[in-house]
């Protein structure tokens, strides 16, 4: 028996940390990692709720499963783009990539 709020607070914390990372890190790969944190926060939520609701279809967990899959795909795409940029620009610092503006 676990009190739900504890779990949720944990996930919220994870989410917040992820957000911070996304906003504060300039290295693109680190940004990706931070996003992974946020997705994990989501998953924790989903699992917790699915366990709370005890629904036979385990919707929450399956949902989380899909989130993981999608996350994997996205990471692939993201890294591909990062590498592409690195090849053209010799940097992957997000805040230096601002040719396009205003």
């Amino acid at each position: 028996m676990i009190r739900l709020p504890i779990v949720l607070f944990f996930s919220a914390g994870l989410f917040a940390v992820g957000v911070y990372g996304v906003l504060a890190r300039r290295n693109a790969v680190l940004v990706l990692m931070s996003i992974e944190l946020m997705l994990n926060a989501v998953n924790v939520n989903l699992v917790a709720f699915s366990q709370l609701l005890q629904d036979a279809a385990m919707t929450g967990q399956i949902f989380a499963l899909f989130v993981i899959t999608v996350a994997a795909a996205e990471v692939g795409i993201g890294l591909a783009i990062v590498i592409l940029i690195f090849r053209n620009r010799e940097t992957i610092n997000v805040d230096e990539i601002n040719l396009l503006r205003w």
């Binding site: 996304v22 906003l23 601002n98 040719l99 396009l100 503006r101 205003w102």
Partner: protein, 642 residues
Amino acid sequence: MIEQAWLIPVIPLVSFFVIAFLGKRTPGRGATLGILAVGAAWVLSLIVALQQIGGEGAVERSWPWLEIGSFRFEIGTYVDGLAAMMLIVVTTVSLLVHVYSLGYMRGDRRFTWFYAVLSLFTGAMLNLVLANNLWQLLIGWELVGVCSYLLIGHWWEEKENSSAAMKAFITTKIGDVPFQFGIFALVIGAGTANIQQVTHAVEGGELSSALVLAAALLLFGGAIGKSAQFPLHVWLPDAMAGPTPVSALIHAATMVVAGVYLVGRMFLVFEAAAPEALTVVAVIAAITMLIAAVLAAVQDDIKRVLAYSTISQLAYMMAALGIGEAGYTAGFFHLFTHAFFKALLFLAAGSIIHAVHTNNMSEMGGLRRHMPWTYWTFLIGAVALAGIPPLAGFWSKDEIITAAYAEGQTGLWIVALITAALTAFYMTRAVLLTFFGRPRYAEEVHPHESPPTMVGPLAVLAGLSVVVGFVNAPFVGWFSDWVYVGEPHHPEFSFFNAGLSLAIAVAAIALGLALYGRYREREPLRRLGPLYAFAQRGYYLDDIYLGGIVGPVKGPIARGVDWTNQHILDGMVNAAGWVARKLGVATEAVDRNVVDGIVNRVGVATGWTGGLLRYIQSGNVQTYAIVLFAGVAILAVIFARI
């Protein structure tokens, strides 16, 4: 025939178009046509008048014209004694002037156009006289105004001529506006514009007394403008810039009496609003006749002398009407006689000017040897105007004075007598300065008698000036049976008044002789010093009008309005456009062509929003992200508040 009176104005109007469009190709380059047309009108007028006198009574004829709202307005003619008399005056003088102009205007640059406009004027004036309803009358009223404008400005190469023309038009227009309002009042009150129905409605007391009074006064406003009464008289002297025949026709005999005619035509309205309305008329008239006569006495330009004289004589007529029914006939009788001898005077003056090429009497003198015809005719006119029996002026003027006396209008009576004296005085002055003394004109000028085309009309008018007085002389008094309101007032001869006015006139003439008998270079009246100067400047009325009203309106006020338009109203619009466009950014303008310049004009508001947005759109994706979360936060707040 009298039913066909509509032909009388129509003929000249048609001839206007003919002359204007193909006059140059006709024999006499338009003049012949014009004379024929006016001649025809003259003949018809005579017939109509005779029929009228023959006791046909008032004849009205009308055709439907326009419906607007509940109003049904008709166009038509109304011939009664007054109208018939006016027809005679207008056509006769007009005909003579047409003939006279053959000589006077020979070789003029716009000879044909001149005749075209003369025709137009005649037609318009006749239409004014015959109109049976107020709108039609108004049309004639304004048309003669335009003709006067065109003819005064006939020699528009010189700026002062065109300015004089404008002044005439605008000044009379100022009177016309109240005139229109007066018409409104009557039309609204009576539900029709037909003059007879209106007057009867007024008589029948269908209109509230206040409305009637307002109507009367407003109408009189029109009369003040047209008949050059104080304070709108200032345009007439300047109008002398036009060719002299025009002055004779329009500014002496016909158009300027339209005001008097109007008051007479709507007399019942004025009576219904008595005493106030008539009193106003009388007072204005009194003031006018006096000040004008004084001015006439100090002019050097012979035409201006006559012009001011005209003003004061018109005031005489007005005054007569102001007296009431008793003066009605007298007033129009004076109009009748005055038309002839004043036209005569003008034409004679024209002949003089024709000879010496100047208007200034100080540059004339001793002309009677060179141009006897002109001299004698002018003299006749002068004497007639001065009111010496048995010439026309004496009878008509005397009847007015008598009427004033009889009606106990003492003030008016005195003013009239003074004016009579002044009149005699300035005419003496004019005659002496022009025809007597030693020549003062430049020696290269060789004055000569004018051609018959000019002298002929002079002679005719002179003859008329002698005889027409008798049509209403005491013990004759036919005129009184033609033109009257209520009951005919036959003039009864009062030795007292006759003698008095005669004596005064003689005295004035004597004074004139004394002053100007041995005139040298110096104007004797200058001894009056400041008074003379004051009169010379026409009491500074013109300066007041120009400096006080016209100048500011044309100058600062107009410019101010225009500035407001460009900078305030338009500025706001542009500012709106600019703000909308600028609300994105403080610096670069996308579209220089559209609102360039406003950029500098309107202040640097609202740039910061743009600055902010631009800062955010920095190209740094993480800034975008922060804003994204900020957005979520804001939305959350909105949520919470709901």
